[in-house]
Point group: D3
Chain length 331, copies 6
């Protein structure tokens, strides 16, 4: 089953659970609009290459569509359709007045110069622009696209409009109106979720002990923010392994070590541990922020944390989730 | 090979013949824009059905795109792409300042009421309207669509524009601005072609003898127009068979017979012949206006007509065409 | 019965004659759109006066609406509605692709300065402009409006559009794109009608004798054009009376006399006659181009002309028309 | 005098009181724009009926016009003009940056199916849309129109705009952006007014006793909100009569009784009283929220409440108001 | 060096200080767009005069351009270019998302009637309107233009847009949406600056003594606002001289005196002083709010105030500023 | 006096001759609109250069403005203003419904690559596009601009419009809609003028003898067209000198010689002459199609041709023109 079939089957499951009328389900299953465009781009060697680009708008019913734009050789219409549909659900469940969209261009950005990427992006915007706009569809960075690419989109769109339209994209550079805090937004979302979980379980983040698997953009910022909130981060890890200090880590020292050696391992005053050990530490809160599927039926019983904050994509397998859920919830 | 692959391969052949630079070929191979839309339509039984609709614009470089809109269960994107590309070539070779497009909706119009077709057409127009318009793309009737459907498109588009825009479609009813002569346009095209062939071969349509395979919209009107031009139509046929009178047919009698019996066969003063016999009559001009592939390597030698006017889709097989061409052309 | 009720009753009569379906009649009876606006205008004495203005569009189905704009203290919505409906019929019977409209402002133009009229006209255009335009509704001069007023409308509309839009009004000065020949257009229409009548009756305008009641814009130009076509104009009249010369009038002499005395009476070489006498002259063609109702049951029997060209508004009463028609038509 | 003449005469009175210059008064007396449209609607029995619709914009000077849309057989232009003018005053006195408008369609909604109402509403929106919009004129529900009708207006307008324009109407369903709290907005306005009156008279709503004539949308919600604020609601009534309990009513019991019997009368622990008695109860605050003209010169002397909050349309006659005012205000 | 050359040289100095890349400097040096228009205006004596108008937009990169419109016989393009560039810097340094613009008309407003100014302003707006708008360029009052002129601009622009667009100008009358507090905005800016300086120097405005040179819009309002904040204003002056009362001035008395005599001099309970004496008073805060260049190398040593708030244009010469700065800053 | 002052003084002279009212003269003297733009262009060496561009519209009163676009280092606003004004006169005297405009960019196209010129042209179009368009202003090639540059303008403008707008420029390549015959349009104009002169002087071009100074685009094509019309071209020249054959030149031989040697001199069967000699040949028609000022008071007496067709810019000095005119015209 490809992504689109998966998405449709998820929708069916939910629709039947909600007893949605057939009329509504059949509409929700159909992306409102798909625009496929050919993008002739002059390459640096003066040849012309023609790229295929897409923009799928799944729903505009709750407001302008919202969704990322990705540059990848493996982009397919079905993937775009699935991701656009997920954007509709995402916006709806958090009650943001937006619909769902997704865009993509089949290309290999690693092999393209910055000039080529600019020409590709401007052409894409020019062609897809008829269905973009602050009231219609607002792209955002996604796989292989970034604030610079958003700036090109904004500029191309603005030249056409005749004045600056920063509201046509999100994720643009802060200098031209991008939102601050975007870089640690995921981490802050994790913290908010943890705080809510603490509220439900009758504890507080302040004073809790925290172990974090992963020290990248998410894990690193969760460590910083949790410390700021008064939690005691006792363990963190990266691909090479982790470190543990039950009295709490000195994040400056961790950062310095990482800067120097490329890994947290060996930070002074800490004991080195494995990634697997980290998951089973006796802490209040465990944050798996690295790979998916790290907590499985094999190790779920060993997890001692009362709160597991899933900061990676699906770090807990469905089976393990059911297991841990059934044991965690008071009967 | 599907239609799109065929079209691409034809393009490659021509491009190599013309020694088109690769840069231009690669652009010509890519349809400029494909818009796919979901069309929720309330059916007469009050259920909602969602139809898939398309509009492919292959090229807008020579002017607004032009191309039909078809309603058929077998509509596919690849077919649309191929037909849109052919429209580009068609307009270009006759130097009309238009590009090429094609549209379609996957539906079974035979099973739909007029109200359902109206709602479907209006919804389609509403969704696809962003890329239609007198300067952008001008639909026309095609398989299973007709002047009434064009009128619905025009009305929907006009309501949106705020005033009547008859120029947004061709093939609309003459009462609201449709061109006169559309119903026998194909036949007149055939006549023009014959006249040109006569000019080249040093004969005239006036006074020539003509045999016509097929008595439908094309064949019937060719018979009428050729007679008006002073030719002697000596044979015509339909699926049941044909009739022959070397002195020329009385078209009124033929029409009366058809009206009464549903076939030309048995028209007074005529001899009944088979469709196969008709092809080999000793006439100046033969018009195969029924099925494709009727003149093959098997019977091409028996064709006596000096001019064969192909009024059906490919009535002469490529092999037979080569054969007859080599024998017909003076060395 | 006011004008609107009259118009509706005429429509009913025709609709029943044509056996129009009720659905269509009920739509034709309803003006599509009426826009009433308040027009505050600064008068030359610096007070503000607020005028009421209207634009009625009866039908836009056959193309943009077309109709005059009148300035008169007696303007009413019902009159506007009736006249707009008549414009729809007028355009349709001569197969011009226009619908029908009419506009008016309640004012007394005789008491207004040119500046006040300009400010009123510009304000009217500004307010009504949302429904005007070359594809929507195209005003023309009517009672108390003239090319100058059309020029103000065009200028106001053009300033708003950002470029010159001469096609938004007809009847503008020729210097800015007005059609030539507008000043004698009615007379030429009369001549065309006479020529057609001659054709039907087997005579020719050339060589016919003509008597014309009225020497204004219509009568005067008919005299000139008929003479140009080779007819012999033997009599013409104005409110003071008429002149007659069976050998044909010298139009230069008539014009000179009028210039000097204000009347055609007393032109040398002519016999003075009364307006009543003129109607009964023994001529081929009689053109009543002055008042309505001049040919009645009382004098219809004395009219000797074979062709009566009605160039005034209803110069022949309906009864007289029936009478003369029954006698004139060969049984 | 009809409503429009009334409104003009009120304006004259106020203008003379304010010594408004004549120039301004004459403009304020003229509605800026009236658009009358014919609305052909296909009825469920497939006949076409043509409805007359209106939109009057009295003033756009302070911002976009604002005003309800009503469906009623008795709709007249003069009523629309009067109500539009009142909307201008309403918005201006509370300093909301809006002008005044009103719309209506002559129809009998009780006899129309939901489909017919939808088609009528969409057609009305389509025709009147040229003068609607977030910056131009924003309709709202009024007599016989409701959130569903506002949703149809919003959808029709949005389809035309090409994206969702929820800001084109107020009073739409909350699911598509309607404001929460609309259903008890009037009651909350009454409470705010009472609180302000309390402030002026040096008392507080909290702890005051309240009698309410009327138990509908206004009276019922005033009862609930006043209780929430700590007031003691001692009496309430409906058309059948009222109830009284000096210790305060149990609103749950009142609601239960109403649900069961259709009237508040007979609620346990309460004494039944007449509507007339209610007005003269010894309470701090009296809220006449039923009919107009209930407090007259006949009973004004018996009213004991220090604060009379007029929640119906003009429940106190002008004479009684003067009387009560003169007695209430400290000399 | 004219103003434009000055502005360019300032830019060069800053660019070299910031080590701006040449690419960026060269763009910053070029005004994006200059529109020069001819404005034929009918004068009150019915002649036509043609005025020259300008609008320079230096930069639109950070948002819509912002800048005043001035009416002056000495307006030049170079001045406009310089002032537009300064507006870009002004908006950027206080991080307002606006670019910079400036407009002007060469005229002598003192010799023009209000009607002539209105016609000039409306024509200017009409011609320049293509580059104005809330998202493009937003004028404001400047030399010889005022809220009335902004209202004319707003009205002309709005008539064209079809609805009220108050956001197209700032500085319009508060009745139609102008911001409150504009009249004393400069004074409040001075007070804010003083408060910030107090914070830095460890004192407070409350309780400080203040001397103000100048009693116009700036000086007068500074006096009032400083007093409101608890400061003791001990001296103020106008062109005729100043007054001094070490216990603090009674502003009502000062205002009354000014009203009566046209000068602050001679206010009861105060000692008259010269403008020069005022600068050297022993106060905490000195506010030169009259002419430029009043504090020079000659008198800078005598200034005793710890805080000098420059409320006039450059009241302290650069040399004096360096001198006072070096002595004021703690080493 | 610069070009603008010259143009103004010419206008004054004509206006006084025509007794134009002052009101109209003062308006005609003022260019309606001047737009100056800064054009940052990335050069091939990756630096940014900022070019200054202009578009002057002198008058839009008779229709959209029309005028060339030139690229030259010496472009000035005053030159643009003068040339735009001349375009107004040119269009008006030949009654074409266009106004006058002119555009320019200060640059040295000889030193720029094709890519740089494309980027400059696209940027110019983008910036100036707000005042261009088929109804507003239609550029054409001029000094250093050509069909390719027009194609870039058309493409940039069309991308912005969303569809092909070939009518936005003239002088584009014929493949995308340019007019045929543009390359020899000037020559054909010369021929038409000669034919008209022949008509007036009672001769015919056919059979006349012709001498042509200059063999470039104008002179060469005049030779060809005159020969086609039956005239006998007896002499032609280029910068190196001329050739003469009283029996008429063989243009194929002349072309062959030029192709080979770069000059007409030495063509077989011809006598070589000087450019000066050519002017005094005994021919019917003399066409100075090279430099200005070749016929002066010094040689005008020696010119024997009865018709001198000025095909260069002012080849006859004003004095010589007066002289020759007075002698040529029959008294």
């Amino acid at each position: 089953m490809n992504q689109w079939e998966n998405a449709l089957s998820d929708l069916d499951e939910v629709a039947s659970f909600l007893e949605l009328p057939q009329d509504q389900t059949v509409i929700l299953k159909s992306p409102r609009r798909i625009l496929c465009v050919s993008l002739p781009v002059r390459m640096d060697n003066w040849s012309i290459e023609v790229f295929e680009g897409f923009r799928v708008q799944h729903s505009l019913d709750r407001g302008p569509a919202k969704g990322g734009l990705r540059y990848h050789p493996g982009v397919t219409i079905d993937e775009m359709k699935a991701l656009a549909m997920l954007m509709t659900w995402k916006c709806a469940v958090v009650k943001i007045p937006y619909g769902g969209a997704k865009g993509g261009v089949i290309c290999e950005p690693d092999n393209m110069s910055s000039s080529e990427l600019e020409r590709l992006t401007r052409r894409y915007t020019s062609e897809v622009g008829i269905i973009l706009g602050p009231e219609k569809d607002i792209p955002a960075p996604d796989v292989n696209t970034n604030p610079q690419i958003m700036a090109w989109i904004m500029d191309t769109y603005s030249v056409n409009a005749g004045y600056s339209v920063p509201e046509v994209v999100t994720g643009k550079p802060t200098e031209i109106g991008g939102s601050e805090g975007r870089f640690d937004a995921t981490a802050r979302g994790v913290i908010s979720t943890i705080e809510e979980a603490c509220r439900v379980t009758g504890t507080t983040l302040e004073g809790s002990t925290v172990a974090i698997q992963g020290a990248g953009n998410v894990g690193g910022n969760v460590a910083k923010l949790a410390t700021d909130k008064g939690a005691r981060v006792v363990a963190i890890s990266d691909v090479r392994g982790g470190i543990y200090n039950p009295k709490g880590l000195n994040l400056w020292a961790v950062a310095a070590r990482t800067m120097k050696t490329g890994s947290v391992c060996g930070t002074p005053d800490c004991r080195d541990i494995t990634n697997e050990e980290l998951l089973t530490l006796d802490v209040d809160i465990l944050v798996p922020a690295a790979l998916g599927g790290t907590i499985t039926m094999d190790n779920v019983e060993s997890v001692k944390a009362r709160i597991v904050a899933e900061a990676a994509n699906a770090p807990v397998t469905p089976e393990a989730e059911r297991e841990s859920f059934s044991s965690a919830v008071p009967s």
